[in-house]
Symmetry: C2
Subunit: 172 residues, 2 copies
């Protein structure tokens, strides 16, 4: 089996959107996917694009059962840590089940690590579900540290409705 | 007591750097602060600046015991969620102890929420230490959800040395 890792293009939107949904379904969170291909297109390929996406692509003759040639993806954006400096933040690393165990996840991480170095990042940061032992073992082997379990850092959200309430009170 | 919330400027770097160290000391992690004022200046006010910082400033006659007029800060940058779309990520929200309980933290959040709306973000996301009950209670009152305790999302890091190793193997 052969594959290439490359930055995505507009033509890949539909297949990547399908994989985003597959990944969400794997996390039993399909109902939380509010994004649409139109939003993704505007945000990713518009003037103010602030994130990148790498995809793993196989030749047409090796396409998946579902007819996909894009069999994995990884989103990333530049973030900043007041203690460490520039940090590359990874959002999602997904490989289609029938293509797992072939090194595609590692290849995606190899390439995103290269991007991190090019952008002078001192760290690659990402979120993983604590119940996903396979993923956590995979990341640990590559040198990842779980700073939630080791340093008690917890991730929090303030959603739209509450963000609007907060913003309304901005008087100063 | 009066104060204003405003985006920072180069002249504020020294005082903000001092507050970053105070905040790290509060988290018993002063030894983890690798950033310098020079790095911060380049990253924040150079051509490719990717993050913002809001500061809370009091008039000179109300300065802190240590002589500071900047008594709180909040870093933020645009990030992206494949399920939700654009998200504003907050890094640090700090108010000097003697100025706490006066609404400065809320005012900083009010202003950063306004920035989130201006940037079409559907969510404000941040990290908090699980042992910092005062902070967690404060955020919860404002509508925050702890997605680590509720949805098992854990934060992970891959640090420089391992990022370099990963990048070296990027052949495809």
């Amino acid at each position: 089996m052969s594959y290439i890792i490359r930055p995505w293009a507009v033509r890949d939107l539909k297949q990547v959107m399908q994989l985003i949904k597959e990944s969400a379904a794997f996390h039993k969170a399909l109902d939380q996917v509010r994004i649409t291909p139109e939003m993704l297109r505007e945000d990713a390929f518009g003037k103010e694009a602030t994130f990148g996406c790498l995809i793993a692509e196989v030749p047409p003759e090796q396409k998946s059962k579902e007819g996909h040639t894009i069999v994995g993806y990884q989103f990333h954006y530049l973030s900043y840590c007041t203690w460490d400096g520039p940090v590359l933040f990874g959002e999602d690393l997904y490989v289609v089940p029938e293509f797992r165990g072939k090194g595609i996840g590692t290849s995606l991480l190899n390439k995103v690590a290269k991007i991190a170095l090019e952008k002078n990042c001192v760290q690659f940061r990402f979120i993983s579900a604590s119940w996903n032992k396979t993923a956590m073992d995979f990341y640990t082997k590559l040198g990842a540290i779980n700073v939630t379990s080791q340093n008690n850092w917890n991730l929090c959200h303030i959603d739209g409705e509450h963000v609007r309430k907060l913003a309304e009170q901005a008087s100063r």
